[in-house]
């Protein structure tokens, strides 16, 4: 998988970097070396460039540069939108801002909440036995892990 394809909010591990010599020195110096963990933090308007955290620094890369970094997933974390029907998940993180967070709280969804995906298109989950409808946009911002 290319770094540019990693979903916002997830962490990946670098497998290899393939930059032209003039850029390679800087990229390696910044910590984009094989084995390093990279977190996809955010994307700019129009989805490009994106911010990554590597070795504690926030670095912007255009997708055309992130294409040159080959990565693999480290955690089984992914957005709820990619979850499968009938399976159980635990909520790991939210990607939204303050408004989104309060919305989540009001729905009773918190980090650590256990949920089950009841249906997809539209997504509906059960939390503490209660059914909750989730919009696709919101599902992108809820990071879950399978249990």
């Amino acid at each position: 998988m290319k770094l540019s394809e990693a979903v916002v909010g997830t962490k990946v591990k670098i497998v290899s970097v393939d930059f032209p010599p003039e850029l390679q020195g800087r990229i390696l110096g910044l910590g984009f070396v094989p084995g390093s963990i990279v977190e996809v933090v955010r994307e700019a308007p129009f989805g490009d460039p994106r911010v990554y955290t590597v070795h504690g620094k926030m670095i912007t890369l255009r997708n055309s540069e992130a294409d040159l970094i080959e990565v693999e997933p480290v955690s089984k974390n992914f957005p709820l939108s990619m979850a499968e029907v009938g399976k159980h998940y635990i909520v790991k993180a939210f990607l939204g801002g303050p408004f989104f967070m309060s919305k989540m709280r009001s729905l009773g969804i918190n980090v650590g909440s256990k949920i089950m995906v009841a249906s997809k298109f539209p997504i509906s989950i059960t939390i503490n036995g209660k059914p909750v409808r989730i919009g696709m946009g919101m599902a992108e911002k809820i990071i879950v892990e399978e249990i």
């Binding site: 800087r26 460039p49 911010v51 255009r62």
Partner: protein, 643 residues
């Protein structure tokens, strides 16, 4: 005299420490790449003179952009007594990477962990002895804000100078394959006299990485060195090993801490938001302008009253005569016309300074990058351009941080279209006369137009001059910092002072010159100034300009504030005279002309030095004249037709 050089990643506080130690006032701001040239200062310490050298920040010694090369070349060719590697306490990894690189190159190195105040605030603990043990260097914790550790830094540096004791020697061993190759190359160059000033191990490592300069040095030894893909592989292996080592040391030497501050996290989420990011940028700019005008205007009025009274008083004391006229109508009203805008200009710098110190600038670059990409530029050049709102000269200077030479040249050439604070007075004057009540909106429009014009120019230049290719954006986003009042004041004062100096020099001289030209052989209509203005006036007739406006434009090439001085001297009281002479669209057209035409002398000069010759400086002059004329003509004609 002994020399101590400060090196480190960008934005770790090198210049701040340099300032604290030497009492200098170098440019400090919260974004990477502020310092673009080598700066020196002296500090007396324990009876000795120590020369400190501040250098541009780098991530690695395999440097690419002009500012990075300055640092690399310095370390390569000069022999400072101590090299101080400065790292950021909250984010040491990349700094320690550089430390390892520097340690491979030289022996007299020490480590400074700066911004220790921030680490303490977040409850992060760093074990100094672990760092000393694993890197084999003296370590000092400092804060440029509180002054902590500065004395100790100097003491340790002095200790290294006098005793040559650099702590211990720790050599990072690389993977077996690399060590074997290194040994082979080392053997070949062991006895070469010409290379005595370099460490053989460093040369060997660099040869493996395929560093062109080192390969050139080693050429005569005909050593079989790897090339191409192999270089790439070794470079990657070496970097990987370094980070492995750093990670393992830091695991022992530091306690973890709360990486993400919820406040700055939430703030960042909003200002770099997918949809809100750009509107927020515009809103911030608008806020800055409202602040510049509305908040600062009462102060301007106060100064205005003061200057008028001064003129009246002088006239009363000195009586009538040509000397009085020179002093009152020339100097006081010419220089005074510009001084009136000092509060606005200080306000502008305050707003810019806040943006720079808080750490918003790189975020703006990030948000806008996609649009810049369409212009075959990057967010990084946008960052340089924004600085131009203060003054074009530092904007052009800061392009040294742009790695791609073509992008750099285009940024330099379009930078003068960004409307600097010196152009503000004429906007405020004309907007106040012709667009009363809507000043902020009109001036905001001009600023936005100046950005649009810059963008169009960049596209044009890319199309005409270069076969444009997109360039990468690899940029660090610094953490947010609450600007200290002291830093902000220094920022505003350093720049505002420059403006005051200009008022006392170039504007003063221009005012006197204009007075003479405007008074002889006979005042007003029959003066030399009138001859000059009238000679060129036909050229500007399609635009609807009065000959006095033309004269003002001519004098304004020295410094754009002079346009206002000339107005004051030629019209006496522009606010009552001008409305009878020109229409609002012509006034707007004139504002656009001032915005776009010929960069001031200082900017032309810096374009010349930064591009290495007159060619591009002259190009910039001709090109901007052409653009100014075209755009202003359009506004005059279209505006005239509508009204």
């Amino acid at each position: 005299m002994n020399t101590v050089a400060l090196v480190g990643n960008p934005n770790v506080g090198k210049s701040s420490l340099f300032n604290t130690i030497t009492g200098a006032r170098q440019y400090v701001a919260n974004w990477p790449g502020v310092t673009v040239s080598r700066k020196e200062g002296i500090r007396r310490w324990r009876g000795r003179e120590i020369k400190l050298v501040d250098l541009p920040g780098i991530y690695s010694l395999g440097a690419i952009s002009i500012d990075e090369k300055i640092t690399r070349d310095y370390l390569l060719r000069e022999a400072p007594d101590v090299v101080v590697v400065i790292v950021d306490a909250l984010n040491m990894e990349q700094g320690l990477y550089l430390l390892i690189e520097v340690l491979e190159m030289r022996e007299n190195v020490m480590l400074v962990v700066n911004a220790i105040d921030e680490a303490k605030k977040r409850g992060m603990k760093i074990n100094r002895y672990e760092l000393e043990k694993h890197f084999g260097v003296h370590v000092v914790f400092t804060s440029a804000v509180t002054g902590e550790g500065i004395d100790e830094l100097l003491d340790r540096a002095l200790h290294i100078i006098t005793t040559k004791d650099v702590h211990s020697f720790v050599e990072l061993t690389y993977q077996k394959e690399i060590e074997e190759k290194v040994r082979k190359i080392e053997e070949r160059i062991q006895n070469a006299k010409r290379l005595r000033s370099y460490k053989p191990r460093w040369l060997a490592l660099k040869a493996l990485e395929g560093d062109p300069e080192v390969l050139e040095l080693l050429e005569e030894f005909e050593i079989p060195v790897p090339t191409g893909e192999e270089n790439k592989k070794y470079k990657e292996m070496i970097a990987q090993r370094r980070y492995q080592y750093i990670d393992s040391v830091l695991r022992e030497a530091t306690t973890s801490f709360d990486q993400k501050l919820s406040v700055s996290e939430a703030f960042d989420h909003v200002v770099t938001h997918r949809f809100l990011g750009i509107p927020i940028f515009l809103a911030m700019m608008y806020l800055a302008f409202t602040f510049t005008f509305d908040v600062m205007s009462p102060l301007s009025d106060l100064i205005d009253t003061g200057i008028s009274s001064l003129g009246e008083w002088l006239r009363g004391v000195m009586g009538n005569g040509w000397v009085t006229s020179l002093v009152v109508d020339g100097v006081v009203s010419g220089v005074g016309a510009v001084l009136v805008f000092v509060p606005n200009i200080f306000g502008m710098f305050l707003a810019l300074g806040f943006m720079e110190e808080v750490g918003y600038l790189p975020r703006a670059a990030f948000v806008i990058d996609k649009l810049m990409y369409k212009l075959k530029l990057s967010g990084r050049s946008f960052m340089s351009l924004i600085l131009g709102f203060g003054c074009n000269v530092p904007a052009v200077m800061s392009t040294r941080g742009i790695a791609d030479p073509r992008e750099r040249l285009i940024t330099i050439l379009v930078a003068p279209f960004i409307t600097c604070s010196a152009r503000l007075p004429i906007y405020i004057l004309l907007a106040g006369i012709f667009f009363k009540g809507q000043e902020a909106a009109v001036i905001f429009t001009i600023y936005i137009s100046s950005i649009v014009l810059t963008a169009i120019s960049a596209t044009l230049l890319n199309k005409i001059l270069f076969k444009g290719q997109p360039i990468p954006l690899v940029m660090e986003l610094p953490r947010y910092r609450l600007p200290s009042a002291k830093n902000l004041w220094l920022y505003v004062w350093e720049r505002g002072k420059h403006f005051l100096e200009k008022a006392g020099t170039i504007i003063l001289i221009s005012s006197i010159a204009i007075w003479f030209l405007g008074s002889y052989p006979a005042p007003a209509d029959k003066s030399f100034a009138a001859d000059l203005g009238k000679f060129f006036e036909p050229l500007f007739r399609p635009l609807g300009y009065d000959w006095r406006m033309v004269t003002a434009l001519i004098f304004g090439t020295a410094a754009k504030e002079v346009v206002v001085s000339t107005f004051q001297m030629m019209y006496g009281d522009p606010s009552s005279v001008l409305p009878h002479l020109i229409t609002p669209p012509v006034a707007l057209s004139f504002m656009f002309f001032v915005m776009a035409y010929i960069p001031c002398f200082a900017t032309i000069a810096v374009i010349k030095t930064e591009t290495g010759g007159w060619k591009w400086a002259l190009f910039s002059v001709m090109y901007s004249l052409f653009i100014a004329y075209t755009v202003s003509l359009l506004i005059s004609v279209v505006g005239g037709a509508i009204l």
